[in-house]
C-alpha cells in the first residue's frame, strides 16, 4: 500500500469518517489502529518490532531521567548517560538495518579475506529495515533530547508514545515531526469543514505533482540514463537539469499528500518545502528544502556541538590566533562539516555523503571564503543585486548546484561523475554538442509523445504559478479560497480531471488488445 494507491485513499476516507463519528476520546486510539493497519499492508509486518523497540527505549529512558532528577543525591551526569545510551541504541539499530550500504563493504572485505565461502551467506542475509526508519529514528532521538533538555514532559502512556513514532501519514516520507507539535495527536478534535476541504485539495495537488509530473519526467530521465553511451551531450544536460524537477515534484508531491491526509484528521504537520527553487543561495535552499531534516540537524547536532566546551574554546582560540573573520570561518568549517555529514549519512548510502555532505560542505565553505570577492565584483560592475534578473541568476545558480549534487545521489558516484563529465564536454569539446536533438523529434524515441512534452510545460507552469501565489499569500489555496465559488470549483474540477486522465497509473490501455477477437 503506497500513499498514491487507491487502497490508501480508501483507508484514509474510512478512517476520516470514523474519526469524527467515534467518541472523541477514542480518536487517538483510532489513529493508532489506522497506523497499524497501514504498517501491516505497506511494510514487512514483523519489522514493527523495531518501532516498538525504539519507542520502549525512549519511553523508559525518559521516565528514568525524570525520576532521577527528582532525587537530590543523583549526579548531574546520570540523566545525560541515560539519554546518550537511549540515543546510541536507536542509532545502532538504524545503522545496522538502514545503513547497510555504509558498512557492508567493510564486512565483505573482511569475509572475502578470512573465509570467502561465507560470502554468499552474508549477501543473502538481508535484514529488512522498518518502514520510515530514518524518519522515526530522528523523531525518537529528538524526543529523548527534548526530555533531557526538559523542554517537554515525558509521555507516560507508552501507547501514545508509540503513536508518535508510528503515526501513519508520515511513515513513508516524513516530515520529521517534533513531539511538542504532535502532542495534538492525543487531543480531542472537532470536525471542521475547512480541514476536510484543505486536506482533500492538498492531496489532489500532491497527486498531480507525483503522478502527472514526477512519474512522467522520471520515465524520460530513466530512459536516457539506461543508455548513457547513446544519449550523450545535451541529453546529459537534460538529465542534470530535470533531476531536481523530478525530485521536487516527487518528494514534495508526497509531502502534500502526507500533510493533506494528516490535515483531514486535524493534525497539522510541519512543512517540509517552501519554494526551494526561489532560494538565492544554497544556504537558503536547505532552509526551504527538506526543512524538517535541516532544522533537526541544526537543533540536535549543530547547536549542541557549537555550544560544547571544546568548540567554544576552539572558537575563542582561533579568533585570537587568526583574527575575527578567519577565526569565525574555521568554526564554520568544523561545524558545517558535522552538520552536513549528519545530513548525508542519514540517507544511508555513500552517494549521499558525496552528493549532499561533501558537495554542499565544499560549496558553502567556498562561497563563504569567496564572498568578499563576489561582493567586490558586484560593486565594480555595478550589479543591481535587488533586480529580478540578479535574483533569477542567483536562483539558477542554486538550482544548478543542487542538480550537480543530485547527479551523484541519483546515479552513484561514478555514474554522476560520468554524467557531469559528458555535460562538461558539451562546453569544452568542439562539435560535441548535439543541439539538433531538440528539433529532430529524437525525444519521441524515448517513450514520450508531444502530449507528454506539452503536459510537462503545463504542469511546470502550474507549479510556478502556485509557488508565486504561495510566496504572496502563504498558500495558493488561500488565494483560491478568496475567489468566487464558480472559479474555485473550476480550478479543483480541472485539477481532478487532469490527474484522472494524465496521471501515470493503472495497467494502461492498448488498442490492439481490443480489436475484435470474437471469431
Amino acid at each position: 500500500m503506497t500513499i498514491t494507491s487507491f487502497s490508501f485513499l480508501a483507508l484514509v476516507t474510512i478512517g476520516a469518517v470514523l474519526y469524527y463519528v467515534l467518541p472523541k476520546s477514542l480518536q487517538w486510539i483510532e489513529l493508532l489502529i489506522l497506523s497499524l493497519v497501514f504498517y501491516y499492508y505497506a511494510a514487512t509486518p514483523y519489522t514493527i518490532i523495531y518501532l516498538v523497540a525504539s519507542t520502549l527505549t525512549a519511553y523508559f529512558s525518559t521516565l528514568i531521567m525524570r525520576k532521577a532528577r527528582k532525587k537530590e543525591n543523583v549526579k548531574q551526569a546520570f540523566p545525560l548517560a541515560i539519554a546518550i545510551a537511549a540515543i546510541a541504541v536507536n542509532v545502532l539499530i538504524w545503522f545496522i538495518l538502514k545503513g547497510r550500504g555504509l558498512w557492508s563493504w567493510a564486512v565483505e572485505g573482511v569475509i572475502s579475506h578470512a573465509c570467502p565461502a561465507k560470502m554468499d551467506a552474508f549477501s543473502s542475509m538481508q535484514l529488512v529495515a522498518a518502514l520510515g526508519m530514518g524518519y522515526y529514528t530522528l523523531q525518537i532521538i529528538g524526543y529523548v533530547v527534548d526530555c533531557y533538555w526538559e523542554t517537554i514532559e515525558p509521555q507516560r502512556n507508552p501507547l501514545k508514545l508509540f503513536l508518535f513514532t508510528a503515526y501513519f501519514p508520515q511513515m513513508t516520507t516524513g516530515p520529521i515531526s517534533r513531539y511538542a507539535r504532535l502532542e495534538t495527536l492525543f487531543e480531542r478534535h472537532k470536525f471542521q469543514y475547512q480541514n476536510l476541504a484543505f486536506g482533500a485539495q492538498r492531496i489532489l495537488w500532491g497527486f498531480m505533482k507525483k503522478i502527472v509530473l514526477a512519474e512522467r519526467v522520471g520515465a524520460f530521465v530513466a530512459a536516457i540514463c539506461e543508455k548513457p553511451d547513446v544519449y550523450t551531450g545535451f541529453y546529459s544536460w537534460l538529465v542534470i537539469l530535470l533531476y531536481p524537477v523530478q525530485m521536487y515534484a516527487d518528494f514534495s508531491g508526497c509531502m502534500d499528500i502526507v500533510l493533506g491526509v494528516s490535515e483531514l484528521f486535524d493534525i497539522h504537520l510541519a512543512e517540509n518545502f517552501r519554494n526551494p527553487f526561489f532560494s538565492r543561495t544554497s544556504q537558503e535552499f536547505w532552509q526551504r528544502w527538506h526543512i524538517t531534516l535541516g532544522t533537526w540537524a541544526k537543533d540536535y547536532v549543530l547547536y549542541p556541538l557549537l555550544k560544547s566546551k571544546p568548540m567554544i574554546k576552539f572558537g575563542k582560540f582561533s579568533r585570537k590566533k587568526f583574527g575575527k573573520k578567519l577565526g569565525k570561518f574555521l568554526v564554520n568549517v568544523v561545524g558545517m562539516f558535522f552538520l552536513w555529514m549528519v545530513m548525508g549519512v542519514w540517507h544511508g548510502r555513500f552517494r549521499y555523503i558525496v552528493g549532499v555532505s561533501l558537495w554542499y560542505w565544499i560549496v558553502l565553505m567556498a562561497g563563504d571564503l569567496l564572498a568578499p570577492v563576489f561582493a567586490k565584483f558586484t560593486t565594480f560592475f555595478d550589479m543591481k543585486t535587488e533586480s529580478f534578473g540578479w535574483h533569477l541568476f542567483q536562483s539558477a545558480r542554486t538550482y544548478l548546484i543542487y542538480a550537480i549534487g543530485a547527479s551523484f545521489f541519483s546515479l552513484g558516484i561514478s555514474g554522476g561523475l560520468a554524467l557531469l563529465q559528458d555535460a562538461w564536454k558539451v562546453l569544452t569539446v568542439k562539435d560535441y554538442a548535439n543541439p539538433w536533438i531538440f528539433f529532430d523529434e529524437s525525444f519521441l524515441n524515448l517513450g514520450i509523445t508531444y502530449g507528454d512534452i506539452n503536459l510537462f510545460f503545463i504542469t511546470v507552469l502550474l507549479l510556478i504559478i502556485v509557488a508565486v501565489l504561495r510566496e504572496k499569500y502563504g498558500y495558493a489555496r488561500i488565494w483560491i479560497q478568496k475567489q468566487s465559488f464558480m472559479f474555485r470549483w473550476l480550478i479543483w474540477i480541472s485539477l481532478f480531471v487532469m490527474v484522472l486522465i494524465w496521471g501515470k497509473y493503472g495497467p494502461g490501455y492498448n488498442a490492439a488488445e481490443f480489436i475484435y477477437q470474437g471469431f
Binding site: W149, K298, L306, V331
Partner: protein
C-alpha cells in the same frame, strides 16, 4: 533588573559580537532582521550573553527561543 537594563546590556553584547554599532534590539526582533545573525553567530551570541550575565542558558531554551523578547524573558527569569 529591569527590562530596559537588560536591553541595554544585550545591545552591547550584540554590537560587540556582530561588529555592528547600529544594532537596536526590540521584543519582536528575529534573526532574519539582523545582518550576520546566523546559526553560528546565534551560539556566539548565547555564549556572549551567558558571560555578560553570568549564568548558563539551558540548551532547551537556546533551541526554542523565537525572538529577542523571549531571550529577554529567559534572562529575567534566570537572573532572578
Amino acid at each position: 533588573m529591569t527590562r530596559e537594563a537588560v536591553y541595554e546590556r544585550l545591545n552591547n553584547v550584540f554590537r560587540e559580537i556582530l561588529d555592528d554599532d547600529s544594532i537596536e534590539l526590540h521584543d519582536e526582533t528575529v534573526a532574519d532582521d539582523v545582518d550576520g545573525w546566523d546559526s553560528f553567530e546565534h551560539i556566539n551570541l548565547i555564549v556572549g550573553v551567558e558571560e555578560e550575565f553570568g549564568f548558563k542558558i539551558p540548551m532547551g531554551k537556546v533551541v526554542t527561543m523565537k525572538n529577542v523578547g523571549e531571550m529577554v524573558d529567559i534572562i529575567l527569569e534566570l537572573g532572578r
